[in-house]
């Protein structure tokens, strides 16, 4: 009998404590970010879409078409091609296609590259309405366009 009283008393007290805690939280500021009105800055090492790194002086990509990334990728996402131009010591890339529908952003390609020609971008707004935007993305074209500018 005494146990029942004690249980009812402590039980009711626990309910009031719980209510007090939620009321405290009621008056605290919000913790959510109102995307898309506000957005967050991505961390330095954030793994966005993979892109080819460009040499800052010449504007060309650093890739030497050694195909290490193609071999390292677990999902067979990368297809690339390169030719050896005259007067240059190493090959340069002419075609670099990434199949983003299979890419898992694991970073094997970024780590496998011997000259760090691949890096992660901070791009996370990757919505599109066509499959072609993701299948066989041409990573080499932006470097050509940048050089033309």
């Amino acid at each position: 009998m005494k146990n029942l009283f004690k249980e009812v008393w402590t039980g009711f007290g626990s309910l009031l404590t719980g209510m007090r805690i939620t009321l405290e939280q009621f008056f605290k500021p919000q913790v959510t970010v109102h995307y898309p009105h506000e957005s967050l800055k991505m961390a330095k090492r954030y793994r966005g879409h993979v892109v080819l790194v460009r040499d800052t002086t010449t504007g060309k990509s650093l890739c030497i078409a050694c195909k290490s990334c193609e071999k390292a990728c677990p999902s067979d996402c990368i297809v690339l091609d390169g030719i050896k131009r005259e007067g240059e010591k190493k090959k340069s890339v002419t075609d670099f296609k990434l199949d983003f529908t299979k890419c898992s952003l694991c970073g094997s390609c970024v780590e496998a590259c011997p000259i760090d020609a691949l890096e992660f971008s901070k791009n996370y707004n990757l919505a599109s309405t066509t499959k072609e935007s993701f299948y066989q993305i041409d990573l080499y074209k932006p470097t050509l366009e940048a050089k033309a500018e």
Binding site: E7, T10, G11, F12, S14, L15, T17, G18, I21, T22, Q25, V31, A43, K44, R45, Y46, R47, A72, C73, P74, S104, L105, C106, G107, S108, E111, A112, F120
Partner: protein, 379 residues
């Protein structure tokens, strides 16, 4: 509670009452994932529960036979995405044990810190989802608010928020900086009062206690029979934790308790997980204090690893129980067989026997305390 045995599944009970089959279908209103359970019910009581899994089978073990060791690393994070670091640790540990690679102490300590942070975040998801099942909607959001802090910390060093692919053979893929260590220390200071708040708001709440106490008793014998590990067996009174039974990494040098409660009911398993979060915070504090200087990866790890022929095994204490990797190698750079022993599979199998004769809402509460992640069951 006396219950009658079902004479034949989908038929009648001993006293001739008709049973019906209810499908706890692949689509759940709660956050369990795609699991189908065929329940044979007598009115409100569960007579027989038959789980049907395989709706999210992604053939990870088959993929292990087609990829090199380094190429399999992203897969390990995706087996159980909520405690991804532990799973990567097991695989990387198995390969290191086989190839004889020695991991520098700094890398080991950072592995422990990130694994324990991942354990806390996985338990926070369990906490929120379990309370959502029971009808308390608010603690889910408080738990996810705390989890954001962990995810931000880990995003700063690994670049990913859920499927970290952070460990490499011989260490880590990149080193941590002071921001991370400071953030981790701040997080531990922030989290302890929050755990106190959860205790006052949820654990002491009389409604929750009435809902969980003496519900779903699972005896230690049943756990042994089905091979259940993790908080399930620790909630039945047995202090079995891989970190103490088969020590790995630097856990022997760290001081922490193994929470275990003898009750065997849902409340005991709940208490075990809440206590585990506190112990994880303790481990993180010690590891951050003891972090040595040094390289973050072993030197001269070959780019393409070829393991000697043989059978190699490594077990870790993941958030849900004992996770183990067994690699059978025949000398090539691609393993012959990768076997993943996942905890949720064993924990699920005891649901059939443990839920007999229970009311349906109680059976759901029991399933919530087993903490099943369905991709873990189906791999």
């Amino acid at each position: 509670m006396q219950f009658e045995k079902v004479v034949n599944v989908g038929g009648t009970t001993e006293s001739g009452r008709e049973t019906f089959v209810l499908n706890l279908g692949p689509q759940h209103p709660a956050t369990h994932g795609v699991l189908r359970i065929k329940l044979t019910m007598d009115g409100e009581y569960v007579m027989h529960a038959e789980p049907v899994c395989g709706y999210i089978h992604r053939m990870h073990e088959k993929m292990g036979e087609n990829r090199t060791y380094a190429q399999f690393l992203p897969n390990t994070s995706r087996i159980d995405y909520l405690s991804a670091m532990h799973y990567t640790h097991a695989f990387v540990g198995a390969v290191e044990r086989a190839a004889g690679i020695e991991v520098p102490p700094r890398a080991e300590y950072i592995r422990v810190i990130t694994s324990e942070l991942n354990r806390v975040s996985s338990h926070l998801v369990w906490f929120g989802a379990f309370l959502l099942d029971l009808g308390g909607f608010t603690p889910l959001l408080y738990a996810f608010d705390d989890r954001e802090k962990i995810l931000d910390l880990l995003e700063a060093i690994t670049g990913a928020r859920l499927t970290y692919c952070y460990y490499r053979f011989g260490g880590l893929c990149n080193d941590v900086d002071d921001d991370f260590l400071r953030g981790t220390r701040d997080f531990v200071q922030y989290m302890r009062p929050r755990l106190g708040m959860y205790r006052k708001l949820v654990t002491d709440n009389i409604i929750l206690r009435k809902r969980l106490e003496d519900i779903g008793p699972i005896s230690a014998e049943m756990c042994r029979k089905y091979g259940a590990t993790g908080p399930v067996i620790r909630g039945s009174g047995i202090p079995c934790d891989v970190r103490r039974v088969e020590p790995y990494s630097v856990y022997p040098e760290l001081e922490f308790d193994i929470p275990h409660y003898p009750g065997g009911d849902c409340m005991a398993r709940y208490d075990v997980r809440m206590e585990e979060m506190e112990q994880s915070l303790r481990i993180i504090e010690q590891a951050v204090a003891k972090l040595p200087e040094g390289p973050h990866i072993a030197p001269k790890v070959p780019r393409v690893i070829k393991l000697p022929p043989g059978d190699f095994y490594y077990a870790v204490e993941a958030a849900r129980g004992r996770f183990a990797v067994r690699i059978v190698s025949d000398g090539k750079d691609i393993p012959y067989r990768v076997r993943l022993r996942t905890p949720s599979f064993a924990n699920l199998t005891l649901f059939g026997e443990a839920s007999q004769g229970m009311l349906l809402p109680d059976a759901l509460a029991l399933m919530g305390t087993l903490d099943l992640v369905i991709p873990d069951i189906d791999r």
